[in-house]
């Protein structure tokens, strides 16, 4: 136990400032204001992997590491779409996940936001093209449910993901 506590003290706080979106104002302040205004207290996200190769999930996981510390900023991943303000969806949406994704969207209470993640989920770039619609996939996320913001990348870095999430909150 002593070792554990020593380690915690030695590590200290490593969280980095939130990234900026567009202008110079610290986005985290703006986010806090807007979250308060739009969603009440905080933002809850339900992540849905609708067909990714799992690289996007690795970067979404990284959002919760102490550097990006998303949860410390009031943004939390939840277990049910019924608890969520936002769906964070990776793709390409497979035929075998199409129905589950539609159901998850229907279960998310209004007002809801959808962020499509990755080149496959957004249908952009070379990788998005390579993983375009075929017998097993429907296409990008917007082919199945309405999308508010796209975060391209293969996979997008945690920083771009944060920017995308912040941008989606600003659309409302």
């Amino acid at each position: 136990m002593l070792q554990l506590l020593k380690r915690i003290v030695k590590t200290g706080l490593v969280s980095e400032p939130a990234p900026e979106v567009g202008d110079a104002k610290r986005e985290i302040d703006r986010l806090n204001d807007e979250i308060l205004k739009i969603l009440g207290r905080a933002l809850t996200i339900r992540e849905v992997d609708a067909g990714s190769c799992n690289a996007c999930e690795l970067e979404i996981h990284a959002l919760n590491n102490p550097y990006y510390n998303l949860e410390g900023r009031g943004i939390k991943f939840v277990a049910s779409p019924r608890h969520a303000d936002m769906l964070l969806v990776t793709g390409p949406v497979t035929k075998n996940m199409e129905n589950a994704l539609r159901i998850a969207y229907a279960c998310t209470p209004d007002p809801k936001l959808v962020v499509a993640v990755g080149d496959c989920g957004c249908g952009c770039g070379e990788v998005g093209r390579l993983f375009g619609p075929n017998y097993a996939t429907v296409g990008p996320v917007e082919a199945v449910i309405p999308v508010d913001v796209k975060v391209p990348g293969c996979p997008p870095t945690p920083l771009t993901l944060m920017q995308g999430i912040l941008a989606a909150v600003r659309t409302r």
Binding site: R7, I8, D49, N54, K95, N96, L130
Partner: protein
């Protein structure tokens, strides 16, 4: 040469610098069965299995089986007539064959003689009787994508009931369906239904050029992108008669070991978290972030995607970054040693880890397991290390890798193997960085029409196998990427028996299998 005295199949070694592979042809289904029996008898395993349609070349269908032997891999082919494409069921000898055989039917439409004929990758997305990997498949027929029923095995008895979980799970994780049959909180049986991530990668590869194939194969399972890229490159190089330079091979090993450590760091954090030690998650995820940032500095991508390419390596890391990497290895090594001491001394954590989700070496062999899950039962199987009759491919032959094993077979063992492998891979990284040989980064790969190759790489999770065949124009005629998860998912069904439902997330994470890699 004959690999077994009593099975007269002539095998010839695959040329090149990759892991040792022998190629042979079975005259008929009986010979395949005999060979499979001999492999099983000798303690070997089924490494991969896939089907192809070669009717457009005036032939019939074809089944490719890869078996893992002590000395290396036997790649055995069985040709099947176009009008009656049936091959003998291998699942009695190798239970891991069950799902592979069902996938072969879903994709190519060639049948096995076994009793389990349920679809595996085909849910409701395309109609029965339409096979995407047939050359004359054409566009998929109009079809309503309705949720399909699946014939789960029912468990009866007083108080027995089912808990269905998924495809969407509670965490940030890939989709799959788990059907638990339980009494109270005790798990009597788990049956998985996978295939939700199926995106038709094999069909996408068909007709692609070699460079495009690399991009696609690098996205079969993102957490193992480097292992796949290397296995694919090795297969293409074996097919086209290209030998990468010693420098390229050393850099590939450096990339692969970095991928191994990145995943192990993440898993060690998640395993602490699943046993309610959030401290572990925070610490290991901090280290992992430092680690992937260094990877980006070295190779321009946090997961080093597309860094390993046929012919060599795409990026030259600069000397300053390499020096910084060696320093980071020392720092991370110290921190991981400290964290291991904390994990080992934490009674609550050990209480959850010990005896949970146990499998033994006999089960690991029965299911043809490779990688961490196999080594954590005491099976000494690591494609990077010497064993009797087996010489690892370069550069590992020179590095003298010490494989990590643990005989307990439980979550604690899989944690211990990960810790040991982190330290061993850190040692390898230092050696590789200091002793990088001179030479070209990348050699030209000129496609050879109709050439074939098989690549085998010891990824962080287990053995990744990629088989490639080129067509008349030197483009990909057939490509099969095989994930070690194919073999490990069925073993997980056994690991949870008799444990309680709340231990499942921990047991599942201790295997950390790929959905996308299996569903392709």
């Amino acid at each position: 040469m004959f690999l077994f005295d009593d099975v007269p199949i002539d095998f010839s070694p695959q040329p090149g610098l990759g892991a040792p592979v022998w190629r042979g042809r079975a005259a008929d289904g009986d010979e395949l069965k005999d060979f499979a029996a001999a492999v099983q008898q000798s303690g070997g395993r089924l490494a991969a299995l896939w089907g192809s349609d070669r009717r457009q070349e005036g032939q019939g269908f074809q089944l490719d089986c890869v078996f893992g032997l002590d000395r290396g891999h036997a790649w055995l082919r069985l040709e099947l007539p176009a009008d009656d494409a049936v091959y003998p069921d291998l699942s009695a000898k190798f239970p891991a064959a069950n799902r592979m055989q069902r996938a072969v039917y879903d994709l190519v439409g060639i049948r096995h003689t076994g009793s389990d004929q349920r679809p595996w990758l085909r849910h409701g997305g395309w109609p029965a009787g339409w096979f995407p990997l047939r050359h004359d498949a054409g566009a998929p027929p109009e079809h309503a994508n309705l949720p399909s029923d699946y014939d789960f095995v029912k468990v009866g008895g007083e108080g027995a009931h089912e808990i269905p979980v998924g495809p969407i799970h509670a965490g940030i994780i890939e989709p799959g369906h788990f059907r638990f049959s339980v009494v109270g909180e005790r798990v009597l049986r788990l049956e998985q239904r996978l295939g939700y991530q199926h995106k038709g990668v094999e069909q996408r590869c068909t007709g692609a050029d070699i460079a495009t194939g690399a991009k696609l194969v690098g996205r079969v399972s993102g957490d193992s992108t480097c292992a796949y890229a290397w296995a694919y490159a090795a297969a293409v190089e074996a097919a086209c008669g290209v030998e990468p330079s010693p420098r390229a091979l050393a850099l590939r090993a450096l990339i692969l070991e970095r991928e191994r450590i990145a995943n192990h760091l993440g898993d060690l954090g998640m395993l602490g978290n699943d046993a309610a030690l959030a401290f572990g998650l925070a610490q290991f995820f901090r280290l992992k972030e430092d680690w992937v940032r260094m990877s980006a500095e070295l190779f321009g991508h946090r997961f080093m995607m597309d860094s390993i390419v046929p012919g060599g390596v795409a990026h030259e890391p600069d000397a300053r970054a390499l020096a910084a990497m060696v320093e980071q290895c020392d720092a991370i090594g110290r921190e991981v040693a400290e964290l291991r001491a904390i994990y080992d001394a934490h009674a609550g954590l050990q209480d959850r880890f010990l005896t949970t989700g146990a499998i033994d070496a006999a089960l690991a062999r029965e299911f043809s397991l490779t990688g961490i899950a196999a080594r954590a039962t005491g099976v000494l199987l690591d494609g990077r290390a010497y064993r009797q009759g087996y010489t690892p491919p370069p550069p590992y032959a020179k590095l003298g890798v010490r494989p990590a094993t643990d005989e307990r077979g439980d979550v604690a063992a899989r944690v211990a193997v990960r810790f040991d492998e982190v330290f061993e891979s850190l040692r390898l990284l230092r050696e590789l960085a200091v002793g990088l040989p001179a030479g070209e980064l990348r050699r030209e790969v000129a496609p050879v029409p109709y050439a074939e190759g098989l690549g085998v790489v010891e990824g962080w999770r287990g053995e990744v196998v990629v088989g490639v065949r080129l067509d008349a124009a030197g483009r990909i005629a057939r490509l099969h990427p095989h994930d070690p998860s194919w073999q490990a998912w069925p073993a997980l069904e056994h690991a949870v028996m008799q444990d309680i439902v709340p231990d499942f997330p921990l047991i599942n994470k201790s295997f950390n299998l790929s959905y996308s890699g299996q569903d392709i």
